[in-house]
Symmetry: C2
Amino acid sequence: MPIDPLRTLEELKELRALTGDEHGAQRVAFTPVWARARAWLREKLAELPVEVHQDPAGNLWATLRGERDDALLIGGHMDSVPNGGWLDGCLNVLAGLEVMRRAAQEGTPPVTLRLVDWADEEGARFGRSLLGSSAASGTLDLESVRGLRDRDGVTLPEALASQGIDFERLPEAHAELRAARAYLELHIEQGPVLEDLDLPLGAVLGTFGVERHTITWRGQAAHSGSTPMNRRRDALLAAGKMAQEVYALTDRHGGVSTIGSAKTRPGIVTSVVEECEITLDLRHLDLATLTAMWEDARAAARRFADEGGVTVEFGDLWRIDPMPFHPELIELCDEAIREVCGVSHRLPSGPLHDAAEVARAGVPTVMLFVQSLRGISHNRIEDTKEEHLVLSVLALDRLATSATRWITDRLAAPQAR
Amino acid sequence: MPIDPLRTLEELKELRALTGDEHGAQRVAFTPVWARARAWLREKLAELPVEVHQDPAGNLWATLRGERDDALLIGGHMDSVPNGGWLDGCLNVLAGLEVMRRAAQEGTPPVTLRLVDWADEEGARFGRSLLGSSAASGTLDLESVRGLRDRDGVTLPEALASQGIDFERLPEAHAELRAARAYLELHIEQGPVLEDLDLPLGAVLGTFGVERHTITWRGQAAHSGSTPMNRRRDALLAAGKMAQEVYALTDRHGGVSTIGSAKTRPGIVTSVVEECEITLDLRHLDLATLTAMWEDARAAARRFADEGGVTVEFGDLWRIDPMPFHPELIELCDEAIREVCGVSHRLPSGPLHDAAEVARAGVPTVMLFVQSLRGISHNRIEDTKEEHLVLSVLALDRLATSATRWITDRLAAPQAR
């Protein structure tokens, strides 16, 4: 039997029993439960003709030597958030494990095949996600994370040291990507798009870039009884217009736009709102469009301020560029999906993934999404139909095969590299 | 000289020096500073042929006996908020004092003239305003205020007892209104209307009724990156529409409408807003219109809920009926204003006043507003031009004279009572 997706299902359940409780998965990175998950994974890998090692950033690599050093990578993460779901991250690893088994059974592959379990994808303990993959991609700025502390006051360098990882050497993980020619990652969608379309699988176009800001309007507190409407400088009125504007914005540009919170001051029933602060989160797959969205949002915020006689001020919270995946690999992913379930769909990823970090390092990358029920993740009720999980393992395997061929074809035609 | 408004100015400044500090007026009801203000007022009254007594609710009455027991009342309040202004409440009393002086000089008036200093108009210590006047009007529900405590845990009955006032006997103050045939009150506007119109004085049509409620929309928290716009159930979107709707509402109905606060849950940058609660304060002079405003607001809130696939729930905070003043007294007030400054203006009162309580007891009532600079009150920068204060004393005096005649005319034509 070339590949056994039902074994993946069994192993997912085995892992759930080993590392979950009634509240969900508890594989928080650098904890004993996470270490138990990794030890269990190493036992599985020990049955295969692969070399296993941990890199200086704590990422676990299993390497099946091929005819060439040039490598196809398949990645995922065994770590979870506290009270997490049974699929987020580990589906990717265990499906990759099954692909390794199939390849090993067939003998020496034409290119080297590597499975990676990224360290601390979730950032649940220190608030910094994608730690292991950003160390490998070379985007991790040590100074920006050196001072991070968990709830007990333990610093990130101290926590890493207790796992035998030297904080100062994290960037050395970059060497692992030297021979990487393509990177594949399967993940649950964590959104409602595929479920809405009644499709099991989708090819991911890339991860959204994010512009995250505060907008604060300031007017004048005034007595709600004695201040005529035409004399008001009402900060909430401007914010209210913005709540609608973000929908118009995405009608024009695509992407998504969210006002996640609104705070009013003085915030009492007998006063016009003097100050209203909102948080705005804009996401798009195209950098120029994302930039235009933020420009449009600021212009609208200023217009609403002018209309209401209030002032407006902008603050920066965070930003990251979009990371489009490789067009030819997206095409191959689409083909693999159509081969196993007849129909595919292309969609962007709103959440970030390790794949974005690998792509940022210049490795051709694509992701495969499998339908999430109710779009829910990071929760014990996170779920996906078992028949869809089976299809996802089959599709990842087909994609690994076609990506291997794509790598060898490219290597044979060096001008295309 | 029949009346001396400059003396009122001097007395206002004398009172400010006696009971204010660099932060403003400190005449909080039932405190030593307030008692000092009252003692000072009693000294002024002692120079006049008036009977002075405190009623069972702590209201201070000065009575100039006339040819009949039927009485014209002029009222105000010596108490202030902490760090209050120099005019709010005491202008009313001191202008009334000057009217009493003029009347006393002229001999026995045709009707009895009474000046009242209401106790605890502001409610600054126990959060219950209009305490003395509501006891007199008969609208005070003892059970609803019996448990009120100040910041130090002192109950209202205890605080009253320390001033020699028996909580249980508060309603006996109602007897004071038995012979009242009209009630007049001068007050600073505490709003920007007269300043906008560049007018010193205005006749008050009545006090707004108030409908005060919470509106809570509930949708679904969802990841800001992975949830397409058309799949969102965004509670903030409905609230944002409401922020604009309150302006449309008052365009149609008049009155004022205020959303004073908005609270969002979970209120984080990475999630669509699941729950948004606002407070809504509607005010109008006409009861039927006020009722229609609240009906319209609810209908709009439900429409916005339907449009966004969210639910809506309403909560009651407080309500009070509008209290229109007496049409004939409003006419007399307008005339008095025109006599002293050529032009008048009629306007409603957004804030409540003791006058509303007296009117609620069935006593024909009117108020006279004098311009407030920048619409600011309850603050040490509260101010009114001195020339406007002079005009206000003159207008109150003219109004007292015409109201006296109005009372005697009415008594002569009993069918009109």
